[in-house]
Symmetry: none
Subunit: 123 residues, 4 copies
Amino acid sequence: MISIDIKSRTPIYEQLYENTRKLILEGQMTENQKLPSVRELASLLTINPNTIQKAYKQLENEGYIYVTRGRGNFVNKVNEQLIDQQAIEIQKSLCRLVEEATILGVDKKGFLEMAGRCFEEEK
Amino acid sequence: MISIDIKSRTPIYEQLYENTRKLILEGQMTENQKLPSVRELASLLTINPNTIQKAYKQLENEGYIYVTRGRGNFVNKVNEQLIDQQAIEIQKSLCRLVEEATILGVDKKGFLEMAGRCFEEEK
Amino acid sequence: MISIDIKSRTPIYEQLYENTRKLILEGQMTENQKLPSVRELASLLTINPNTIQKAYKQLENEGYIYVTRGRGNFVNKVNEQLIDQQAIEIQKSLCRLVEEATILGVDKKGFLEMAGRCFEEEK
Amino acid sequence: MISIDIKSRTPIYEQLYENTRKLILEGQMTENQKLPSVRELASLLTINPNTIQKAYKQLENEGYIYVTRGRGNFVNKVNEQLIDQQAIEIQKSLCRLVEEATILGVDKKGFLEMAGRCFEEEK
DNA sequence: GTGGTCTAGACCACC
DNA sequence: GTGGTCTAGACCACC
C-alpha cells in the first residue's frame, strides 16, 4: 500500500509522510485505524526505523495521527482546518507555477488550458 | 539586480541560478551580454567565489550562458528547445497539483478558479 | 580499481568521472552496486572530498549513478539513450580525425589501415 | 580566411594555431607567404594581440612559420618530419577512439563502417 | 556514517 | 583581470 522510491531525490521520510497523508485524506485509511508499527514497516521496506519514526512524528505533529504508547499509531479524524491549510498551500504553489509559466510566455488562457489537460488525463 | 536570501533553505547557488535564468528568459539580459565576473559578484554579494562558480556552471551546462576563459561569462541565445522542456516540467507540476487538489475535494471548476485568482494577483 | 594520475593535465575529477563511467559501461559495476563513499574514496586516493563529490555529481547528472542522501551513491541501470549519444560523439570525433588525416594526404584506404592497426594492438 | 569561434571551449590561441596550421598543410598558404601581422589580425578578429602572439609563437616553435624581426611572420617550407609526427598523433587519437568504441560494444567491423561513413560525408 | 553546501584561500591557464 | 581546479575544513540534512 505504501511504496517508496529509493532513487528519488525527495527524502524517504518525506515520501512516507506524503503517502500516508494522502491515504488518510483520500479516506483509504479511516479514523482509529492502526498504522503499521515502526519496526514492521521498517523491515517491510528495508528502511531504517528512525526514518519511519520521523515520518510518523511529522504526521502526529500535524494532527493526522495520534499515538498511544505501547499500542501504536492510529489515524485521527480528518481535520477540516488542516484541509483548508493545505488548500492554501496548493494555492501558493499554483501561483508560483503561474509566475514561472508567465516568464515562458504562457498567458492566462494558455495556462488554464494546461490545467484542463491534467483533468482530461485523470479520467 | 540579482539578490540572494541567505536565510532561505534553498541553496545560494540555486537561488543565483534561478534568478539569472529568469533574467535571461524574461529578456532582461540579452544575447552576448556579459555577466558579472565570478569574483565581482562574489564580493558584491559577500559570497564565496566557488558558490557563484557553481551557479554559473549550471547555467552553462544547461545552455543559458557560455564561458570564455580569461574573458568572462556571457548570455547565450535563448534556446527554444529548453523553453519547451520547461513548459513540460510546468505541465507536470501542474498535474501533480491537480492530483493533490482532487484529493482535497477540489473539482475542475474550483481548480480553474484557483488558477484564475493567481492571475488577478499578478496584475 | 580506480586509479588517478595526479600529474596528468586532465582534472582529477574528470579522470574519476571517466574511470567509473568506463567501469559501469563495461559492466564491471552493475546496477544498484554501491560506489565507495565520498569520504572513503577521498582518503583512499588522498584527494579532497570535494573533488570526488564533483565527479560523482557529474556521473549523477548524466544518469550513470543515483544518489540517496545518508546512504550513498549507487550504479544506475545503463541507459541505452546515453550509449547512443556517445556513439554519436565518437562518430563526430572520428570524422574530425578523418578530416585531419585527409589534409595530411591520407586516403580512405590508408585511414582504414590505421584504424585496423589499433585493433591489432588491442589484442 | 581565419575564423574564430569565441563561444568554443578550446582556447582562442589554439583555434588560431590549428586554423593556420591547416591552411599551411593544405597548401592554401605557400612558402614564404606573409601572415597577417599580429596587430592587424588582432584588430580584425577583435582579439587581444597577446593571444595572436601566442599562436604565432607556437607555429614558429613547431617550424610552420619563421619570423624576421621588423618584417613579419612568413610561412615555412612544409616539413616532412612534422607531417609524420602528426600522422603519429592521429594514429594515437584513433586508437583512443577505438578503445572507447569497444567499451560501447562496437567491434572492428562496426568501427570501420563508422570510419567509412565519414568519407562518404566528405564528398 | 553518508551526501550536500559553503567558506577561505591557493595556484593555474587564458586573455 | 577572468574562469577552472583543488585543498582544508566546517556545518547541515538524512539514514
